[in-house]
């Protein structure tokens, strides 16, 4: 006997109590299904969004001794490790920056990330320009845009010298919408 005919034979269709019971069971089923869904989904969503809400870390990383950098007009490429690499990152934990020593204590450093869409810019010492291979962005040696589509200058990075060791302050990838912080400029 199917439930409908059962209901018919017992006359439950017209019974107010049964209506209430059915309405309660409908709500119960929908409510519990929602709860099951929430239990399954919410921890996962929080897990996935972890990297988004995690507090950004900025740490100083060594990039060589003071003697490795000559005082001249040329930038050299330095590589350093990300602020918080996961143990299996391998080579992907590396980041790069263009660094130039201006005087005994003064340095100029730029992130290699093009401010247009993020390709790696190259320093060309002859023309004294940074050029981007992707869409033709060009920057002067002070990081300002010389030509092409980049809307903002290269991101300046901070350098300090501690006991003869040169260190760079790591940053998240400079995104074009990320406002430059006073401290980084």
């Amino acid at each position: 006997m199917n439930p409908e005919s059962q209901a018919e034979s017992s006359g439950c269709d017209a019974c107010e109590q049964c209506d209430q019971r059915r309405s309660f069971l409908t709500k119960l089923t929908l409510g519990l299904s929602g709860l099951i869904g929430a239990i399954m989904v919410l921890p996962g969503v929080a897990f996935i969004l972890g990297p988004v809400v995690k507090k950004k870390k900025e740490v100083w990383r060594p990039i060589g001794s003071l003697d490795d950098f000559k005082i001249d007009d040329d930038f050299s490429l330095v590589t350093y490790e990300d602020p918080s690499p996961v143990p299996w990152s391998g080579v992907t934990a590396k980041s790069g920056a263009w660094v130039r020593r201006i005087s005994d204590t003064e340095f100029k450093a730029f992130s290699i990330t093009c401010r247009h869409l993020g390709c790696p810019v190259r320093w060309l010492s002859g023309p004294e320009l940074f050029m981007c291979p992707c869409h033709g962005g060009v920057y002067y040696k002070d990081g300002t845009v010389a030509a092409g589509p980049p809307p903002e200058p290269l991101h300046t990075m901070q350098i300090r010298v501690v006991k003869g060791e040169v260190e760079i302050k790591t940053i998240p990838v400079p995104l074009t919408t990320t406002p430059l912080k006073e401290s980084d400029v």
């Binding site: 080579v91 247009h116 790696p120 990838v173």
Partner: protein, 472 residues
């Protein structure tokens, strides 16, 4: 024999094969469709190639920072049949993208999206978007330097989204930079999420195909009238239709065979795409380039006026998707025949021509400086000493050749300088070099007056052979 029959009967009865599967296979389809309708089934076949080769690749591929690159190298260079499987997956992806688009163009040209098949079209549009997502994420899983920088470009694009841009970027990175968590995200999208959507989408597409029937070839005498279409269609089908299996299906199978054999032959003769250098985000010698089916978009991004850029980067995919999705709502009745819808033929011709031209342009990418240039040979400079000779060498040293072309040497970003001595005076050239100009940097801060004068001396000698005009 009797026993086998009995067993088959049991299987048939319990599984419902004769009751459900056979009628599906033998459903009646119009007899006039012929070769026009083979693209959809071939797309499905290409998808199966992707699923099967993808499963094989996933048995060895390790989605980790360093290991992904190493495991792909192993698959390509060492594993038995590895380069064929990887090659099939690569060419299968190209086939799937191409066939999806061809299928869509055919459906658009024949206005099959009209009543009652609006939802068939819409599910197809969603499927196409996911197929493009698969193509893009698959390119990243190659996880060489190109893969790393493609993620970078993707997340920089995401960063342009108002308010939540940087969150989105960090979500894509799985952190604040490219790193160990980045690849696994794309792996999950590519291997679990998007294939699941495609399976579900294909299921829906098939159910709708059976529900509304295979459309007939467009006929100028049979415009679609929603009030009578279903009845007319059923009546016509009853009169002239043929069972899908085997009367119509053989063409699908023949074309799918051509596709699969083509994929295999490409994999054997051209092999898997080569991997560039390891995924080191500090490697500045990378020259990121998407796979060929995205070159048109690469061109658009490179040639956009910068004030429109953010709008187009963010708006065009959304707008493109919405326009495609809503095509049936612009017109879902009336003529289906291309001869009565000339603008649809125009749109297809325009679309295909733009795609081809933008793709060719994207391949040559003339907007990029050419980092591989070499110094000008003496034969081009024309003298072997003196200021002109110095100037000829300086156009290389000072980077002019990265963007300018001189007698077969140099890049293509800026104007050709082979005849510049005829067009500009000494003063013009000096001002242009010192101040820069549209898309040309100023060299005032990086060039001595002696170098400048040598370069100008050299440029003034750049004239056509038979030119008699004296340089000023």
């Amino acid at each position: 024999m009797k026993r086998i029959k009995k067993i088959w009967h049991w299987i048939d009865d319990r599984s419902g094969y004769s009751d459900y599967v056979v009628p599906l296979m033998k459903h009646i389809v119009p007899r006039d469709a012929r070769w026009w309708y083979v693209f959809g089934s071939a797309t499905l076949t290409a998808f199966f190639v992707q699923v099967l080769t993808g499963i094989c690749l996933a048995m060895v591929y390790v989605p980790g920072g360093d290991e992904a690159y190493m495991s792909l190298k192993y698959i390509t260079e060492t594993a038995f049949m590895g380069h064929i499987i990887r090659g099939m997956h690569y060419y299968g992806a190209s086939a799937m993208v191409m066939l999806t688009v061809m299928h869509m163009m055919q459906v658009y040209l024949h206005a099959t999206y009209k009543y009652p098949r609006e939802m068939n079209w819409m599910s197809g549009v969603v499927l196409m978007m996911v197929v493009l997502g698969m193509a893009f994420s698959g390119q990243l899983l190659r996880w060489d330097d190109n893969g790393v920088w493609s993620v970078m470009v993707a997340s920089e694009m995401a960063a342009r989204v108002p308010f939540i841009g940087s969150w989105l970027s960090h979500f894509i990175f799985g952190g604040e930079t490219v790193g160990g968590s980045t690849l696994t995200r794309f792996y999950v999208f590519h291997v679990f999420i998007m294939p699941a959507i495609i399976f579900a989408g294909i299921g829906l597409h098939m159910v709708l195909l059976l529900r509304h029937g295979v459309s007939e070839m467009p006929n100028v005498d049979q415009p679609v009238d929603p009030a009578t279409y279903r009845e007319d269609y059923e009546a016509r089908l009853k009169k002239t239709g043929v069972p899908f299996w085997p009367d119509a299906m053989w063409r699908d199978v023949v074309f799918s065979t051509v596709v699969v054999v083509g994929i295999l032959l490409c994999a054997i003769f051209f092999g898997a795409p080569s991997l560039s250098t390891p995924p080191n985000p500090s490697n500045i010698h990378s020259n990121p380039m998407p796979d060929w089916y995205f070159w048109w978009y690469f061109t658009i991004l490179s040639t956009l006026p910068s004030n429109l850029e953010t709008w187009i980067i963010l708006g065009s995919p959304v707008l493109g998707f919405l326009i495609l999705l809503l095509v049936p709502f612009f017109s879902n009745k009336g003529h289906r025949a291309p001869s009565k819808r000339p603008w649809s033929v125009g749109i297809i011709v325009f679309g295909v021509t733009s795609f081809v031209l933008l793709t060719i342009y994207g391949y040559y990418k003339p907007w990029s400086p050419d980092f591989g240039v070499t110094p000008l040979p003496e034969s081009v400079i024309g003298v072997s000493e003196g200021p002109v000779f110095e100037g000829g060498n300086l156009v290389y040293k000072k980077g002019c050749l990265y963007c300018h072309h001189i007698d077969g040497h140099g890049g293509h970003r800026g104007p050709v300088l082979s005849n510049i001595g005829q067009k500009l005076t000494r003063q013009d050239l000096t001002i242009r070099i010192m101040n820069g100009g549209y898309n040309m940097p100023s060299f005032a801060g990086s060039m001595s007056s002696e170098d400048l004068s040598h370069i100008v001396d050299f440029l003034l000698t750049r004239k056509e052979e038979d030119s008699t005009e004296p340089a000023q």
